[in-house]
Symmetry: C2
Subunit: 214 residues, 2 copies
DNA sequence: CCAGCTTGTAATCATTCGATTACCTCATAG
DNA sequence: CTATGAGGTAATCGAATGATTACAAGCTGG
């Protein structure tokens, strides 16, 4: 019955407090929020669930980010930032004479890596269907267009190539959101679908689908 | 200035009651629910908003469908049904010797028509990112796979053709969800994007984006 | 040591929302 | 007429949730 310790991992409930610099704590909460928003969407996620996932109290989450909406906007901004950075890095590492198709393929690989950051792409998807919300919708549109321009101008893809790329990405995101990986063992059509959308990411999609967030 | 009638449209508030057969009322509520769920998602939509949109009282909505979740599942089922029916009709009307690309194009046109049913495709999208929910997720996965099989088996498309078709559809849905039509007047990139994703639906996307639900 | 800022929590509040209950009011059959 | 059942609402409830307030416990420089 050792009532002490367990300081590193899964944060204990109610207990006093592990101390930390505000900036680090902020990062921790943002990561937790990304996961929870990704799982349940903006309205479905509660500040309490986020707080529990981050191992802090609910009021702290609310005060630290000045409310739930501001927190979501911060999560959205971070997610867009990470996608942009990932694309830019892939572009910088492209071989000099790569064809548009090669370029799209390499950037797509970079996008695939983002899948492992649970919640990131799903938080984006939730923002993308929230266009009716004044604040979130505006931020989401702006972010989406920023990605579009990046692909067109910095990656040098034609508008048709960009839309083709984005379309594939949206389908991939949808499969993740659906947890389609849960069906691949039972339904041959699901296995075939996943195989054709993400040939190299089959296992990851299954793993993500089966993961539980807190 | 005929002050009478207008029985079909905007229902009055609080007032006694327009009478109707339960089955018709059910249809009315389902349509309203489709719009509201499409606008705000499952968690964001309230039974009260749906009731107001349908011109009935909130308890009636809840009792008629045995709760909000059952109502959403019904909306989801109807939406999938309509998509399937629309695709099947397009397939039936195909010229005999149509190439896979032609077939996909015709079915895509049918899909485009569904855009005018405000909320239908958006309710689907919201279901597609709700895979973490036990009930909704299962229904959404099943529905998505049903569409996949329809396109593969009844439309005779190859798995790659199907995924290409679905990818385009998901991007189109995302643009609708984003209300990207709001930006086409201010941002050339938005105009270009919409133009390349839905050349023939440009005006409709703008109109949908500016529409207000209730 | 202790003043003061930072990091955090417990307690609690006001709203909102889905659900329940009890009731009202038309239609129509006998 | 009136009994009966279907269509529909007003009133209200309990739980959940985002926010606020007040307070506790560490660090750190003088």
């Amino acid at each position: 019955m050792t009532p002490r310790s367990a300081p590193t991992a899964t944060p204990k409930a109610g207990d006093p407090a592990p101390r930390m610099r505000a900036e680090d704590r902020r990062e921790l909460v943002l990561r937790a929020a990304t996961r929870v928003f990704g799982e349940r969407g903006y309205h479905g996620a509660t500040t309490d669930a986020i707080a529990k996932a981050a191992g802090v109290s609910q009021p702290y989450v609310v005060r630290m980010f000045d409310g739930k909406e501001a927190l979501f906007l911060e999560v959205l901004g971070r997610a867009l930032e990470r996608v942009s950075a990932s694309f830019r890095q892939a572009i910088a590492e492209l071989p000099p004479g790569a064809s548009p198709l090669d370029r799209a393929h390499c950037i797509g690989a970079a996008y695939g890596e983002l899948l492992s950051d649970r919640g990131l792409l799903l938080s984006l998807m939730h923002a993308f269907v929230a266009g009716a919300d004044p604040e979130i919708g505006a931020a989401a549109r702006s972010g989406f267009l920023q990605i579009y321009r990046l692909l067109r101008d910095e990656a040098g893809l034609s508008p048709d190539e960009v839309t083709g790329f984005l379309a594939e990405g949206m389908l991939l995101n949808t499969l993740v959101g659906l947890r389609m990986g849960l069906e691949v063992d039972d339904d041959p059509a699901a296995a075939e679908l996943v195989q054709h959308v993400a040939p190299t990411k089959h296992a990851l999609l299954v793993q993500l689908a089966k993961a539980r967030t807190v």
